[in-house]
Subunit: 216 residues, 2 copies
DNA sequence: GGTGACGAAATCGTTGACAATTTTGTTCGC
DNA sequence: GCGAACAAAATTGTCAACGATTTCGTCACC
């Protein structure tokens, strides 16, 4: 994946700082609730404070950092209750995407989903939770892409970004992939059957299971 | 302190510019796709360009303006197809809020909804579409508030802000309030019955009707 | 007469410095 | 010894100016 050198378009200082900071937060290199001093970040990324400032405003709008007037920025800490609330929103939005994908996907795209399903089953059978987690995200991304619902996709991206920490914690839970894979296969089957109602129900059931797992 | 219109107490320059600009866009004082030159806005609002710039970044994140690198900012134009996609997201999110409100609202809050329902019926019977539109928004806001789902409420606020133009266009459509009021009463009844599934269905039915009306 | 390159105007992105605010460390009074 | 007022340091918010990029008008050239 593209770390920093984004060949697409101009390498503006603000964009540079933004992607750097976002990656740093998403990779967990910033401690939760850590103070983000504009001057430090500016020197760290080799850009000016104004660029860091603009990037922080963007990240605050994405919900990744919290900005208090005259008191600075901190990485936003997502509590378990907030993670549950976010996943509830994901539930209905991914249900919408699954239902739309069941109607609008092409036959080729349906076979893509089927292939992904077999790959996920294999990853679970081989006991490789990390590759399964990757396929998991790929599946959700593909369903969203096939739905053609760009607005929902943007909202889901924003929501998912806030869950990285909890997602990691969940993926490594023993026994979790075994339960998860069946729910995913049900989603794939419903979409392949071009049954929007069943796809919505399957997606909701999966995210409901995720909520239960989050609550522990 | 006696500068100009200071909506609320100790407002910083950026917040001042932001609220001013947002209000101007939401009230339709800016033509669709109008160019927003930072210098002009800075002089218009009596703040510096940096503050206007920060405000524009915020509004871009809210989806109200569109920022193209090195090419300026414009008020974002929401096409009908986009409005439909946004309303589809509203559909599932308001369904979630309605279902949650049916469970978590207090009895006092349920009577508030009932009162609002009678007021809406009266407004339609009296043929006052503007007061009905106000009550309409109040109802949706109250249901969201009673749901306790803060994440969904924030997403809905963001989505609704992009629909102001279409909302106006829709409210003045003849015959529309008469159809709308029944759907709203059904939502209120389902929530008062503390039936989350029925509340979700009623909310979805209402927004589906809105989508049909949008498509004309 | 049409097309391409060149240059000027406009606008955005960036820079460094200054002012306002908050936080922290210190000292004085009780 | 403990709490409150005070001063110093750190940090954010704001400002005016500079440089980079895009856009549009003009002119030479084919």
């Amino acid at each position: 994946m593209a770390d920093e050198a984004r060949p697409s378009g101009g390498e503006q200082a603000k964009q540079h700082a933004l992607t750097q900071l976002r990656h740093a937060i998403l990779r967990g290199e910033m401690a939760p609730a850590q103070r983000l001093v504009e001057n430090e970040l500016a020197e760290q990324f080799g850009v000016t404070r104004a660029s860091v400032r603009a990037a922080l405003i963007d990240l605050a709008a994405e919900g990744l950092v919290e900005r208090i007037p005259n008191r600075g920025s901190r990485v936003r800490l997502v509590t378990v209750e907030e993670a549950v609330a976010i996943t509830e929103c994901r539930m209905v939005l991914e249900g919408l995407c699954a239902a739309k994908a069941a109607v609008q996907a092409t036959d080729d795209q349906l076979t893509e989903l089927a292939d992904l399903g077999t790959a996920m089953s294999k990853a679970v059978a081989d006991g490789e939770p990390m590759t399964y987690s990757g396929l998991n995200q790929e599946l959700h991304a593909k369903i969203q892409q096939f739905s053609g619902q760009q607005v929902a996709v943007e909202l889901l991206d924003r929501l998912n970004a806030q869950l990285v920490r909890h997602r990691f914690q969940l993926a490594l839970r023993p026994g979790r992939p075994q339960q998860s894979v069946n729910e995913h296969l049900a989603m794939i089957e419903a979409i392949r059957a071009r049954d929007p109602h069943a796809a919505d129900a399957a997606a909701r059931a999966h995210l409901t299971s995720v909520i239960d797992a989050l609550r522990e």
